[in-house]
Symmetry: C2
Subunit: 383 residues, 2 copies
């Protein structure tokens, strides 16, 4: 395999565009300067377009999990009742963080590969008074996208706050924070936003602020009131990851130039082509079609085959990296990301490499049939 | 002023060497890969040389304050008695974090510009039983370096843990974690380690682990037990800032090639030259000579002059950025960093620009006299 010919197709970190890498390589600047403040302001204004919100958005220097913890630490106090809507690994993590902060967590698990059932949410919400509801927009571990609009419509009728982990979705899957009643929306840099890991973005609704301001859990580095105070002058409470901010500025510039509608359509097209190819190869996707993620496709390993063996061949022979299964799905699925700095040819690479890897491990495969199915979607696709 | 001719001389973020910028621009890799694990292991082994320790070292994706909070959240529970040795802004911050976690904090403030008085520490330690002692190695806000060896010798005789904020010192000022009885040592990427901000390093002694394992404060993203478990396979508990890790790997490679003794000698030489130049210009340094920092020199503004006015001229006319005063020292001092990717010519630039800026604002100045004093130190210096 040729040196440096690598194709990273995991659901984060995702490949970094050259323009973003160049921006991050600019000479360092101080973070208490007018130049930094101007960049910070521009970034937040553009993130508001992505989040479809007029709310405060804070950029924290930590990875997505730190953003999830910021959402919890600033809204949950010991003894609070929390409803956790769980569809996989990251939903479980959100619930675990709430328990760490002393919440009484009602965890409703919809099963790995399924999406949140709105009827169950409605029943739960009418059965008890929750302070906070936790949901995952895109469950990366299963390639399932949840109906945040539907969940938000239900939670919005109650006094509960809706906290959404949008880490692997935001920027690749449309979200309307304000219209959908999302109170705290969390995302991170290394997914659809096309950056290396290291930044989390946390947006906060006015309804959430009423709770955040007086919340009793300890919080210092992840304090949203501290972030808000600093942000009044486009400052940050603590030293920001300056080079990642510069990269984010460049990435958002690219996204604005493409137009968010086009960004979302590109992701949906790649996902449709990937699913068509998977079907053509006689493989089965994990998620139901109606809840299949636009940014990552989870595929069941053929009977008797360990998905990790397919991944090893892909990486070693073709330089292609897929993600494996997490938790109970380890070895049983592999996941193909089409997220961020990715377009049609990346799908072609993924599928053709998959075809060859299947052949290499002795699986029956009609070489080129998956690629052809993807091509048909692209040729007839809604570009 | 020519475009892109900037000289960043603040005590973090510091300039990034070209080799480090290049390493950070390498294509993204997954963080659950053998390549990442090998890099992670190499980084920790080299950090052990810098920290002079055999202890566990964890690299957290957040800025230094997050590292300070990790130190506190994993060792302090509500009601614990904490002794905070404060010599400026960052000592105050450490104490504030401990209070946020419910500690009863005895805050001993030695005054802005002074260092910790060991006699006072000895008295305090004999007067009460503390669970934790907080100290700052290099108080960035005043350009004062504290005697961690002396503090550690005293604290080591008690059951208390010594938590040291080494954020602006480690890598530029020698520290011997094990020999000096430091139990938790925190540093960050954007100072003497020559990286952009975004990483904190936290080292933990066996004595500290006994407390950390069962500590009762909420901690998830900043959990040291979670970091330890992941680190067994050179993994990280949560998604790491991959590009900053790659940069850290390259920066440590540079430091190992130079040799840590040479790194420390270079910083001390720059500091001596800066102080000689400041004196030759008739200006006064804030710190007493015996506690003057090797990595940042705080200089009192001339009588009747606002230090921020000098800084404005420096930045606008010469592209040189010094730091201002913080807290009660705002406007009263300016701070010249000689930290990280800095050598003799950076001192010459700083001093000659300072001479011209003083002339510009109408202060009497013997042009070239500061530069000459620095040159003499370099020519007679202990290289």
């Amino acid at each position: 395999m040729m040196q440096d010919k690598h194709y990273l197709m995991i659901p984060g970190p995702t490949p970094v565009p050259p323009a973003v890498a160049a921006a991050m390589s600019r000479p360092m600047i101080g973070h208490r300067t007018d130049d930094f403040a101007a960049m910070h302001k521009r970034i937040v204004e553009r993130l508001r377009v992505v989040f479809q919100t007029g709310n405060d958005i804070f950029i924290l220097t930590n990875s997505g999990t730190g953003g999830m913890e910021a959402a919890v630490a600033n809204t949950v106090s010991p003894g609070d009742r929390v409803l956790a809507l769980v569809t996989g690994n990251f939903g479980e993590r959100f619930a675990r963080i709430a328990r760490e902060y002393g919440a009484e967590v009602d965890e409703v698990h919809f099963g790995w590969g399924n999406c949140v059932d709105l009827k169950a949410v409605e029943e739960k919400l009418s059965s008890a008074r929750y302070k906070v509801v936790l949901a995952t927009q895109n469950e990366t571990s299963t390639g399932v996208v949840n109906d945040i609009a539907g969940i938000g419509a239900l939670v919005g009728k109650t006094s509960a706050l809706l906290l959404v982990d949008g880490i692997s979705g935001v920027g690749g899957i449309e979200i309307k924070m304000d219209e959908w009643n999302v109170d705290v929306l969390v995302t991170a840099s290394q997914k659809a936003l096309m950056l290396p890991p290291g930044l989390a973005m946390v947006a906060v609704s006015p309804k959430a602020w009423e709770v955040v301001a007086g919340n009793k859990s300890p919080r210092f580095y992840l304090s949203l009131p501290a972030a808000k105070k600093a942000c009044e002058k486009w400052n940050t409470a603590y030293t920001p990851a300056v080079s990642l901010f510069a990269g984010l500025d460049a990435a958002l510039e690219m996204m604005m130039a493409e137009g968010m509608d086009n960004v979302y359509a590109r992701h949906m097209l790649m996902a449709r082509a990937t699913r068509a190819a998977v079907r053509a190869l006689g493989l089965e996707q994990l998620a139901p079609e109606e809840a299949a993620s636009p940014v990552v496709t989870a595929v069941k390993s053929p009977a008797g085959v360990d998905g990790d063996d397919i991944r090893k061949v892909l990486r070693k022979e073709y330089g292609v990296t897929f993600a494996g299964g997490q938790g109970i799905l380890k070895g049983k699925i592999f996941r193909i990301a089409h997220m961020g700095f990715a377009d049609k040819m990346d799908v072609i690479i993924a599928i053709s490499a998959l075809e060859m890897a299947l052949a290499r491990i002795g699986q029956p495969v009609d070489l080129g049939s998956g690629v052809r199915a993807a091509q048909k979607v692209f040729l007839g696709g809604n570009e």
